[in-house]
């Protein structure tokens, strides 16, 4: 291996270590797999009888005899293990021409859920409740469902928005913009948005707006768990019991049956020979308590026995697309950790196949534990609390690399929280950060946490209004690092985490969102600098630079409540950016001129002007030294010098390995 190859190997390895794995990754993967929907299933007003020993026939109308036709009965079933959180709202479903009821509830672990009951013109009502994805809560809102169905000229998509969202709009496939209706049920923790559209021009994304913040866009593929609109439907959708529809699609990876309910993809069944019937005459997948799939032509009935709980038998029915298959769905009230047996029978009632289903896999074993377990104080009353941390030596990584694991807390769907993620504590530029929620006791709490290098003295969470919540550190004997944490009420809008590092004047700031990067050039409000560059203060206290209408790289945003001057100190006297032949930035007050000198020679000077916004800094722009070449002024060994109006040196700065 020559020098270049050695260098390449080393460089790739260094860069690779900057990409970290989240401790929630396993849960996120499970959410994407067919057996883990974001909603907890309850098929159309499941009667108590279905939970008993034997219930015949879900399809072919058999279930109709057992299904409540009264939406109020559906409501009672759904709310048996829940408490309401706010009033119900009723909206018109344009696809069905019947009402759609929506309301918030608290699930078994106190987690917020949105529930719905949809009434139909020619079938029984059905409903469901599902938890809120924490990741979306902090950003604005998300999709919940859709009433779109084959043959309907109009449809309605709906979802949830944070209370501070002031407008929601939809963008359709053709680019048309449709404002959504925002509903604020009395006493509810969130808003509900609805948007009605023509079926031939479906919604492609929704946009959430908050005052003074960048818009947040969510693609509709979030609802379909993939780009269903990129797939080609090859047959008319068939509606099965409980609002489930299934249709064949041509996709990039072959033909599939896609199973939907209330607009959400709940399962996909590949029709490719290499995947179909590989383990017997039945191919199925599904959620913890709803299974859907296809069977060979000779399978007439399927029976699912859930260990110690219930037994369900369903008839299969022929597919209407001449695929030579039989379709089925099976609903149980099985939990994720319950084993089951699935048995197939022919038309004569003879058993022809059976399989044992194992409980859902627990969190993977990421490696051997290193050091003791840390019990996080103040989390004893958390759901599945207290929160515990420990380190493991990572299985899949070179020796010496660790993962930080946690247990305790509650996931958005009410399940026990836990997982392992990358544990980075040697890279001064990385910020290890994850979080754990609990919804009880009310109003619930969130703990942000991560690994902490030894020279960190404090960690704070900074709110949008500039207030700070102080955190702390915990450790265990033998553990390779400390763990930092900050606890705050659930739903708190944390704008940044700030870290005080020993021996440093400036705090390290890790913003949780980067709205300023999306800022648009303010018309006529920029402050002119040299070389046609303008600077403008956007989003209250963030400065960006433009050349004409083109935005220049870099967004300089102090923590909320701070000024640009808080980003500078003698140890770091300027912030700068570069685009082609221009450089620009801001520096300490009292600096009249800034020069940059490159390692191999070449220098350039920029004059400064006071910022016009009272931010306590001097703005500058200038030409990049001609000798800078392609690397520009982000090159090791360069030196910046600040001069006062009398030409005296007031500071010098050589970028180096500092943790900023």
């Amino acid at each position: 291996m020559n020098d270049l190859e050695e260098h390449l190997r080393s460089a790739l390895d260094a860069r690779a270590r900057t990409f970290e794995a989240s401790p929630h990754a396993w849960a996120r993967v499970m959410e994407r797999t067919p057996r883990r929907p974001r909603a907890r299933w309850l098929l159309a007003a499941l009667p108590a009888a279905l939970l008993a020993a034997f219930v015949p026939v879900l399809l072919n109308g058999g279930l109709g005899r057992n299904t409540a036709t009264d939406p109020d009965e559906v409501y009672r079933q759904l709310m048996r293990d829940r408490t309401p959180a706010g009033e119900q709202v009723t909206v018109d479903d344009p696809a069905e021409g019947r009402p759609l009821r929506l309301w918030f509830a608290k699930g078994g672990m106190g987690q917020p859920e949105l529930c719905y009951i949809t009434e139909r013109a020619d079938a029984n009502p059905y409903g469901s409740c599902g938890g809120m994805l924490s990741a979306s809560i902090s950003r604005g809102g998300w999709f919940e469902g859709s009433t779109a169905k084959d043959g309907a000229a109009r449809a309605m998509d709906y979802g949830v928005a944070r209370q501070d969202v002031t407008a929601v709009g939809a963008v359709t496939k053709s680019g048309a913009k449709i404002p959504a209706t925002l509903l604020r049920p009395e006493g509810a923790p969130f808003q509900i948005w609805t948007v009605t559209y023509a079926a031939q021009d479906p919604v492609s994304k929704v946009v959430f707006s908050k005052p003074g913040r960048a818009d947040y866009e969510m693609p509709r593929s979030a609802l379909t768990h993939g780009r269903l609109d990129a797939d080609q439907q090859e047959g008319k959708a068939v509606e099965l019991e409980g609002g489930i529809t299934v249709a064949p699609y041509k996709t990039k990876t072959g033909r599939q049956l896609v199973w939907l309910r209330q607009g959400e993809t709940i399962s996909r069944t590949s029709l490719e020979p290499k995947y179909l019937f590989q383990n017997g005459p039945v191919t199925y997948s599904g959620t913890d308590d709803l299974f859907a799939g296809v069977a060979r032509k000779d399978v007439a009935k399927l029976r699912m026995v859930v260990s110690g709980q219930s037994e369900v038998t369903v008839d299969t029915r022929p597919d209407p697309w001449n695929l030579g298959l039989r379709l089925f769905t099976i609903s149980t009230r099985k939990s994720a950790d319950t084993a089951y047996t699935l048995v197939a029978y022919d038309a004569a009632g003879k058993e022809i196949w059976r399989t044992e289903g194992t409980p859902r896999a627990d969190e993977p074993n990421y490696g051997d534990k290193v050091g003791g377990t840390i019990v996080l104080p103040g989390t004893e009353d958390f759901g599945y609390g207290p929160v515990r941390f420990w380190f493991v030596r990572s299985k899949g990584e070179p020796a010496g690399q660790f993962m930080l694991c946690h247990s305790g807390g509650v996931n958005y769907d009410g399940r026990r929280g836990g997982g392992c993620g990358s544990a980075s504590f040697n890279d001064p530029n990385s910020f290890s950060h994850s979080s754990v929620d609990s919804f009880r006791p009310e109003p619930g709490a969130t703990v942000s946490y991560g690994t902490a290098p030894p020279d960190w003295e404090s960690v704070d969470a900074v709110l949008r209004d500039g207030r700070r919540i102080h955190g702390g550190f915990v450790s265990a004997p033998g553990a390779p690092a400390r763990v930092w944490y900050v606890k705050y009420p659930y739903g708190t809008d944390v704008a940044a985490h700030v870290v005080k590092v020993k021996g440093r004047q400036l705090e390290s700031v890790y913003l949780t969102s980067h709205d300023c990067w999306e800022a648009k050039a303010p018309q006529g409000r920029g402050h002119p600098l040299t070389r046609g560059i303008t600077a403008a203060l956007v989003m209250d206290n963030c400065v960006r630079f433009w050349k004409g209408a083109k935005e220049l790289p870099g967004a300089y945003e102090p923590i909320p409540g701070g000024k640009l001057s808080s980003m500078l100190a003698p140890e770091r006297p300027l912030q700068w950016g570069q685009e082609k032949t221009d450089w620009y930035g801001f520096t300490l007050p009292g600096t009249a001129k800034v020069t940059v000198t490159l390692k191999g020679g070449g220098t350039a000077t920029a004059e400064t002007v006071p910022d016009p916004w009272g931010q306590g800094v001097m703005l500058f722009s200038g030409a990049v030294p001609e000798k800078a070449g392609r690397p520009g002024i982000t090159w090791p060994g360069m030196r910046f010098t600040g001069y006062d109006a009398g030409g005296r040196v007031v500071w010098t700065y050589r970028p180096g390995p500092s943790p900023f």
Binding site: H7, T33, P364
Partner: protein, 159 residues
């Protein structure tokens, strides 16, 4: 010996696949790696070797599609703002490797894939070919052209 479970495979390979997606230029490497595992879960491949090959190939494919999508978006819109780090970070993060990594970023997609799979994952030509969906001979070509391009780029920087 029993085949490793899906969970075992996840524990052993997830972080590595996040990093592979990142090195190939994905803007959200975790999204790519999670999607690859979700697809594997659906496929239910039984053989561990086949599963790992499938995961690598899926990460390469998804990243390729994602980059293509981003390029199309950029064609329709003005250049996006630089997302990540200040110039300061560019200096600090990769002081030693910055020049070389910048040249890697400029490589054609296939050459970049071949070099990352060979020099970071230490895969054989056959394994690289499986991940990239090309022939082993083609891997050799992409890798040698990529290395040559890097060599030229470094000389230009020094000039």
């Amino acid at each position: 010996m029993a085949q490793p479970s899906f969970a075992d495979l996840f524990a052993a390979q997830y972080q590595s696949l996040v990093r592979l997606a990142g090195l190939l230029g994905a803007d959200d490497p975790e999204d790519i790696a999670q999607e690859a595992f979700a697809r594997l879960h659906t496929r239910r491949l039984r053989d561990d070797g086949a599963a790992l090959s499938y995961l690598r190939a899926t990460v390469c494919n998804l990243t390729r599609n994602r980059l293509r999508h981003l390029r199309l978006v950029r064609l329709r819109r003005p250049d996006p703002p630089e997302p990540a780090r200040s110039s300061e970070h560019a200096v600090i993060l990769s002081e030693e490797h910055r020049e070389l990594l910048a040249a890697v970023d400029r490589l054609p997609r296939r050459q970049r894939e071949a070099l990352v799979l060979r020099y970071w994952l230490d895969l054989s030509e056959r394994e690289i070919a499986e991940a990239m969906g090309v022939s082993p001979g083609s891997v050799k070509t992409h890798a040698s052209r990529g290395l040559a391009a890097l060599g030229r780029a470094l000389k230009e920087e020094d000039a």
